[in-house]
């Protein structure tokens, strides 16, 4: 599990546990007949207003903090030193340093990237939607983009660790979806 995945899982499990605890606690409290509240009124109107405002503010702060890290802005200020063309087809990945087409089916080309260099994947599909998912040597999903017919999606990435990386299909594309794969190496 990558650090990022681990963080996500732990965060989720903690939040889930918190929710469960609160619900169990409230459930157990319901037996106690020490109710002194008026019905349905916990907070007054001003308090509620502030609660909502706080919640909205928190959301926007969270959004403005995470959105700039989106893949559409990854390495946008730099010029890539490599382009890797990717064409997906049921049930096959073609990866090539040259554009892929009738003259260059891109089959069987061994892609070797340098550690730390900026690579741009130009990903398209020749039939249905596929998902270009890059997995590192420990089988963690590190980045992805969709392969859509008619369009080219550009994913920029720097590989910091040498090794063999796998490409799996991350959009259901038909009966051999699970065995549609490719790989490349980083030195």
């Amino acid at each position: 599990m990558s650090d990022k995945h681990e963080f996500i899982l732990v965060l989720f499990l903690l939040l889930a546990a918190l929710v469960a605890i609160v619900f169990v606690y409230v459930y157990l409290s319901s037996g106690a007949k020490s109710s002194q509240k008026e019905d349905g009124k916990g907070l007054n109107n001003t308090q509620r207003f502030w609660f909502f405002l706080l919640l909205t503010a928190a959301l926007f702060i969270f959004a403005s903090f995470t959105i700039p890290k989106s893949p559409y802005y990854l390495f946008e200020k730099e010029s890539p030193s490599r382009v890797v063309f990717v064409a997906a087809q049921q049930y096959y990945w073609a990866l090539s340093s040259e554009a892929i087409g009738p003259g260059n089916p891109g089959a069987g080309e061994a892609i070797e990237l340098k550690r730390g260099e900026l690579v741009e994947f130009r990903v398209t599909s020749l039939d249905v939607n596929h998902g270009f998912g890059i997995y590192d040597e420990s089988n963690n999903l590190i980045a992805q983009t969709q392969a859509m017919p008619g369009y080219v999606n550009r994913l920029r990435w720097k590989f910091e660790k040498p090794g063999t990386y796998k490409v799996l299909c991350l959009e259901f594309c038909g009966l051999a979806h699970a065995v549609m794969r490719a790989s490349f190496t980083v030195r």
Partner: protein, 240 residues
């Protein structure tokens, strides 16, 4: 095993777009010396100031050069003036003189426009190799067989976009964005002639503008709104 079974299909694929547009991407353009009205200058001196749209023509061309320039001129006028670029029109014919090129500029009434430069160079072969341009001499009339080519060069002298053929202002707009090092995470394939595309690339703003598809996409909500209004207004409410 299944992979092997399906592999042959790949060779049957139909051409999707002009692959030559994808050659030499992010490779440096040869830093040749060109001669303009103002004298000799290296390409690097030009692009380090403003990125370049480089177009290769020759003055005796009876083919695509004139329409290419014409189209380019028209399209440039539709484009956001805020974006910076120099259009360098360079002759690839060794027989062209600077005067020939200046004549060409006059014919297109571009000689006064500060964004346009017309030039010749003695190092044209070196340039051609670096950008993958291969004009072929054809026939006795000193004509060349060549493609209509635009090369986008960013401030670091890297080729960031190529356009082949007579292209619309949308494609040109994409190039201008690209040479200004603005990363656009996607582009449509040039042969993408599908009905109801969601977005059209708008060169005026450098952004995607709504296409027919967006209208289709907003149709369900619009229809529902109308429906709700119609039912809501036509019902007689029992008032309390």
């Amino acid at each position: 095993m299944i992979l092997l079974l399906w592999a042959p299909k790949l060779y049957a694929l139909t051409p999707v777009y002009n692959l030559d547009e994808e050659t030499n991407i992010y490779q440096p353009v040869a830093d040749i010396r060109v001669t303009t009205e103002e004298g000799g200058i290296y390409l690097s001196e030009i692009y380090s100031g403003r990125p370049i749209i480089l177009t290769l023509v020759y003055t005796r061309c009876a083919g695509v050069c004139n329409p290419l320039l014409m189209r380019l001129k028209e399209n440039i006028e539709l484009i956001d003036p805020k974006r910076e670029f120099t259009i360098l029109v360079l002759s690839f014919d060794p027989l062209d003189t600077l005067e020939d090129m200046q004549g060409m500029a006059k014919r297109f009434t571009l000689d006064e426009d500060p964004r346009w430069e017309f030039a010749v160079s003695r190092e044209i072969d070196k340039l051609n190799r670096s950008i993958g341009f291969n004009p072929v001499r054809a026939g006795a009339k000193r004509q060349f067989d060549h493609e209509a080519l635009l090369i986008g060069i960013n401030r670091n002298g890297l080729i960031t976009k190529k356009l082949i053929g007579l292209r619309n202002e949308a494609a040109l707009g994409a190039m201008i964005v690209e040479i200004n090092d603005v990363f656009v995470p996607s582009y449509p394939l040039p042969d993408n002639k599908r009905s109801f595309s969601c977005f059209n690339y708008d060169p005026a703003t450098g952004k995607n503008s709504p296409g027919w598809g967006l209208l289709v996409l907003s149709l369900p909500a619009t229809l529902t709104l109308l429906l709700v209004l119609v039912i809501g207004i036509n019902s007689n409410h029992e008032h309390h």
